[in-house]
Symmetry: C2
Subunit: 150 residues, 2 copies
């Protein structure tokens, strides 16, 4: 088990992994330096945490916590989850998500959320293996993620 | 234009509308009293706001703000949006969402997010009319919302 909670001192390595993630999927990134600056602030607060997997780290899960009117505790969003391509299929992602969930439980989180690409069936199966479901347990209905940049 | 930002003193009316929302859609609710207690705390902070529509209010939008590593400003999630059934189709929902977006802009929000039920095509069209899109602008791909209660 190599997964561990990131500290403020890990901001640079978390930033590099997130930047690599966006580069792999052709998504714009503000660059590792900007991400590291933001992460030094965010990881020092109590509403963001990151889990690193591998030594040296080659996987990351980034989580944001918030309040929600439907729950007494907090709600967590897994903002990003990334394993370097050459190291996939070795269980490192599972170690990361399990430590994410254990950390959420320790921080009084009642619900963990993730948005998963419609065509990324492998990722959907990965999260389902770890207990997530797309269908609302009450209505049996899935939901799409919508966004608007301001 | 009847939409207005809710204050802590509106916690009871916001709670009643949210409770009615869940009752209409057969989703469990902790009850209006519990919701009102939580809302008095949440609406008094700087990471939750609510917009009321109609006088007396018959519509509500509830928004949670959080930080995010990809943006310099904050990210907003429209947790709930509800218009009483007998008052739909009168533009009150549009007034609410427009004040939600204006409030987000005023609070340095860079991205607004919503999860919309897959089969609720009317709601999807409503949000698209107000500028939201399901497909990621970079990848052209939609995403499903996944959750896990702890």
């Amino acid at each position: 088990m190599t997964a561990r909670l990131a500290t403020v001192d890990d901001a640079d390595v978390v930033a590099r992994l997130l930047h690599d993630f966006n580069t792999e999927f052709d998504t714009p990134s503000p660059g590792a330096d900007v991400l590291a600056r933001r992460l030094r602030r965010l990881l020092g607060g109590d509403s963001t945490f990151a889990v690193l997997g591998g030594e040296p780290p080659i996987a990351v899960g980034l989580v944001t916590l918030r309040t929600n009117v439907w729950y007494e505790g907090r709600v967590a969003l897994l903002d990003e989850m990334y394993v370097e391509p050459s190291r996939r299929g070795q269980g490192i992602g599972s170690e990361v998500i399990e430590l994410v969930l254990a950390t959420c439980r320790a921080r009084a989180v009642d619900l963990v959320e993730i948005n998963v690409d419609e065509r990324d069936v492998d990722a959907q199966r990965f999260y389902e293996r770890h207990g997530f479901h797309a269908a609302d347990p009450d209505t049996g209905e899935r939901a799409f993620y919508f966004e608007l940049e301001l």
